[in-house]
């Protein structure tokens, strides 16, 4: 098991003055009847590691997707990495936004039949000449080098040529982390990255995540149902309940009673 969490630097003591993400009165409904998000005001500063927690259906994943324009915002506005939008970001704005963002899903979402290296190179899709990121065969040499380096960060350089579906669940999630980091994004968003893994692999992945974000100065926003992960790997915990922010506290000041309240029926 990797022991990377032990010496994570505390970002709260560093420079985290610039807001990387700001939402104002963010509302989201899918059918105009049920509001998933009911006015979210949130600010995430540069270098922070923020855990978004809440019970199933409280709107965590929806909020993450709204921040990078994967889902349309019904009302309110989002400013992410200097791009402000309501609804969906416009074409060029969306491209700029996603170029600076890495996204890791609960299920690794790799292309199973492609090699590990090709999957990491997919992280270059928003670069000019994106067609060359379709596969490692067509990618320019610097992209191949960057992908191999990203794989070394997750200790999978030796698996570069293997097919993605030949790897274990934990290894596949590490590949998806490498894919998200290959462009060295300013913001990394992870939607329950450890949920589909066993406890040991899940902990390894979270530790790796937090470590890499700290090493590369990347702002991290992740959702989790595991309170131990939130406590260990985040500087701040934002709890959602019923589409609203229940509390927004530093990890150090979050109590067990606060966490109990989040999942109270």
């Amino acid at each position: 098991m990797l022991d990377l969490a032990a010496d994570l630097p505390s970002v709260t003591s560093g420079t985290m003055t610039n807001a990387v993400v700001t939402t104002r009165g963010l509302r989201k409904s899918y059918d105009r009847k049920t509001e998933i998000l009911q006015g979210i005001d949130l600010t995430i500063r540069q270098g922070e590691r923020v855990a978004l927690i809440g019970s199933n259906g409280c709107g965590k994943s929806t909020l993450l997707r709204c921040l990078i324009g994967l889902h349309e915002v019904t009302q309110g506005d989002v400013t992410a990495l200097g791009e402000t939008f309501t609804g969906l970001p416009a074409g060029a704005q969306k491209a700029r936004l996603r170029r600076q963002t890495g996204f890791v899903f609960q299920k690794h979402c790799l292309v199973r039949r492609r090699s590990v290296l090709s999957n990491v190179i997919h992280g270059m899709m928003s670069e000019p000449g994106s067609w060359r990121a379709f596969s490692q065969m067509t990618a320019p040499e610097p992209w191949r080098q960057a992908a191999l380096e990203a794989l070394s960060w997750v200790n999978l350089s030796d698996k570069a040529a293997a097919r993605a579906d030949a790897l274990s669940g934990g290894q596949q999630q590490r590949v998806s982390i490498a894919r998200a980091l290959v462009r060295r994004p300013a913001l990394l968003i992870a939607d329950e990255p450890a949920a589909s893994l066993d406890p040991v692999s899940g902990n390894d992945v979270m530790a790796l995540f937090a470590r890499l974000c700290a090493d590369h100065g990347i702002t991290l926003l992740f959702t989790s149902h595991d309170m131990a992960h939130a406590r260990s790997y985040a500087d701040r915990i934002v709890a959602l309940r019923g589409g609203r922010v229940l509390f927004d506290k530093s990890t150090a000041t979050t109590t067990d009673a606060d966490l109990d309240e989040v999942f109270r029926v």
């Binding site: 969306k94 979402c109 292309v111 199973r112 997919h122 990121a133």
Partner: protein, 267 residues
């Protein structure tokens, strides 16, 4: 307290009046059709001796070297028609299927609907009708046959490619979109690698179908070995005809064997 047996659901579902009428109408259509166009036992009994006489005149197949040499080159042409037509058809099917795939294609639902309608049109017109049209436009010969196979292949592959694209795994597509990929990136980065076995499978079926079609296209003048078969029947050269029928049988059998093995490898 009511008896639990009273709540037992019936073995047969009750038919609604509309379903009953539609079912009966369908039965009536089948019975009337069989009565009007299916062969009667008398016709079958009377036709039997004629069939025996025809088979007798076909035996033995003509194995004259000069004839076999002519047939060989016709077989080569038949394969060329099938391979060229299937290849061009498969290549053209890919973008058309992408346009037709709902929720994935670049032109939205209207573009998908129009593309699907176009594919359906190509598929519903029989290949011999397309062959007649192309013989009338580009003249007798292999080119008309190749164009027929192209159209037939688009009608076949277009539909199955589009369905495969629609059914492809959504998570990698979302991941590539989240990374910043456009629709083309999603197509080449996530969809095509995922559906490739299905595309190859369908393409092999299309090739097999193309070989079967190409052997009969000659009946309407669109090149290939079918032209020899028509000439043999027209000139009452039944021994030549039996040789050609045997050759067609071997070609189709061989093609099915090859594509079956290739399909198994792809799985």
């Amino acid at each position: 307290m009511s008896n639990p047996a009273d709540r037992m659901p019936p073995r047969l579902t009750r038919l609604s009046p509309l379903t009953f009428v539609l079912t009966m109408t369908a039965f009536a259509i089948v019975i009337v059709s069989v009565g009007q166009v299916a062969p009667t036992p008398g016709q079958l009994i009377n036709g039997g001796p004629s069939m025996v006489r025809l088979v007798d005149r076909m035996m033995p197949p003509n194995l004259d070297p000069a004839f076999l040499s002519r047939i060989f080159w016709r077989i080569v042409e038949t394969f060329q028609i099938a391979i060229a037509g299937a290849f061009i058809g498969i290549v053209l099917s890919l973008p058309i299927a992408w346009f037709a795939a709902r929720g994935v294609g670049p032109f939205g639902n209207l573009g998908a609907f129009l593309s699907k309608a176009f594919i359906s049109f190509l598929r519903t017109v029989p290949d011999l009708v397309w062959a007649l049209l192309f013989v009338a436009t580009v003249g007798l010969g292999a080119v008309a046959g190749t164009m027929t196979i192209v159209v037939d292949t688009i009608g076949f592959c277009g539909r199955f490619f589009a369905e495969a694209i629609e059914d492809s795994e959504k998570e990698p597509q979302e991941a590539i979109a989240a990374i910043g990929g456009n629709r083309l990136s999603v197509l080449f980065g996530a969809i095509l690698p995922d559906v490739m076995p299905s595309l190859i499978n369908t393409s092999l079926f299309a090739l097999e179908k193309a070989v079967r079609s190409s052997v009969v296209l000659g009946l309407v003048g669109a090149g290939g070995i079918g032209q020899e078969l028509k000439a043999a029947f027209d000139l009452f050269q039944y021994r030549n005809a039996s040789t050609i029928i045997l050759v067609i049988f071997l070609i189709v059998l061989g093609m099915e064997w090859v594509t079956d093995r290739l399909r198994r490898r792809v799985q």
